[in-house]
Symmetry: C2
DNA sequence: AAATGTACTGAACACTGTTCAGTAATTCCA
DNA sequence: TGGAATTACTGAACAGTGTTCAGTACATTT
């Protein structure tokens, strides 16, 4: 009775087919501008079919978010190579900023768009948990080694993430054009900001 | 020939009637959930009429943004009262955070939503210019008095604003629940973060 | 009083997310 | 193997969106 197994497999294939198309289109045109009908067209199915696999556009977003967090984690693991803890933290920060600038639409749907509300956190995992853990662990190591001015890990993570997110998101929303000279390279300036900030929180 | 003057006056009244209704509804339900038809209903006109006064929903957003920036500036002027420069900076930061937490939908439309793209910056003024100038002036004073570690005003403003915006926006988007204990008071924690940050950038 | 100009309407267009009766194919069971 | 049951999929329909525009009614000018 391998039929139900095959069906289950086919169902999963269909789901990944949908999310793959969605991911591609979200990346290119953004979440808001990608419609269910567009996705359906892309995979050559009718719009109704998508709702047999995902109950909402929100659930689709949630799925793509999960992939995006993995992508970010992969970028962390690839770029955070130093053995020096503070250097690692700097590599992490710069990777975060670069990721945001290189994948604006992805960053948007991960951190700027309103989080999906209709999704059971019971059914689906907590999105981005591993990526967050990776980051917090590094910060904790730095604190325990007495390298940072912070005492509390949560306060430290809160501040460091806020700074990084602030830099990226204000830039993506063109809210800090005024503060950045016309001719300047944005990535360079943001990386410099990260460097300076990390210097200022050294113990 | 006072007729054209009266007409011009009536036109302005109509425009403020529209933006006032829009502001109210944006504040209550947010920009996205407020439709042109809803606004038209509220002021008892047909949807088409609104387009005789504003060419877009974007232009309406732009107008409301301008008011919102003035509201923030007013909050600054009310709360930034100290004579000590660094204290003033702290009051500014805390006012910013409080403003964001108290007016989430307004903060959203000011800094998180995609900026209106179809609006001539030639015709309409540069939104929030005064508010930004107010902020940058204070930072510049601090730097010139040698109170901060920064040399460049733009870099300083970039970082300070990014931190504040990061704190507020991550919180509004429920992205930092993980880092904030369940029972904790969010405003308190964010204010503490501002305090700590300002300490870390003191010369 | 007639002609011109202005302000406003509301139906229509093209889109959106979502639902659901109906159809076609597949699997199950006798 | 043939008929019943299950499953997968469709596409029209619903209620909503921003936006446009022919048509109307009123105000102003001549």
């Amino acid at each position: 009775m391998g039929i139900s197994e095959r069906k289950e497999r086919e169902r999963e294939e269909m789901k990944t087919m949908i999310t793959t198309a969605a991911m591609k289109m979200f990346l290119e045109d953004g979440y808001a501008k990608t419609s269910i009908r567009n996705i359906a067209d892309a995979i050559e199915y009718s719009p109704g079919t998508i709702y047999l696999y995902y109950k909402d556009k929100d659930e689709l977003l949630f799925e793509v978010q999960a992939q995006a967090y993995l992508k970010l984690l992969a970028a962390f693991k690839q770029n955070v190579t130093s053995t020096d803890l503070l250097e690692r933290l700097e590599q992490l920060g710069k990777t975060y900023v670069s990721f945001g600038l290189a994948n604006p639409e992805l960053y948007d749907l991960m951190f700027i768009i309103r989080a999906p509300t209709n999704v059971d956190k019971e059914v689906h995992g907590d999105n981005g948990h591993d990526t967050l853990t990776y980051t917090i662990s590094l910060i904790e190591e730095c604190i325990q080694a007495g390298l940072l001015i912070f005492k509390d890990v949560n306060q430290a993570a809160l501040q460091i993430w806020s700074m990084a997110h602030g830099l990226v998101s204000l830039n993506l929303r063109c809210r800090l054009k005024v503060m950045i000279p016309e001719e300047a390279s944005v990535p360079e300036i943001l990386h410099k900001a990260i460097e300076e900030y990390l210097l200022s929180i050294r113990a």
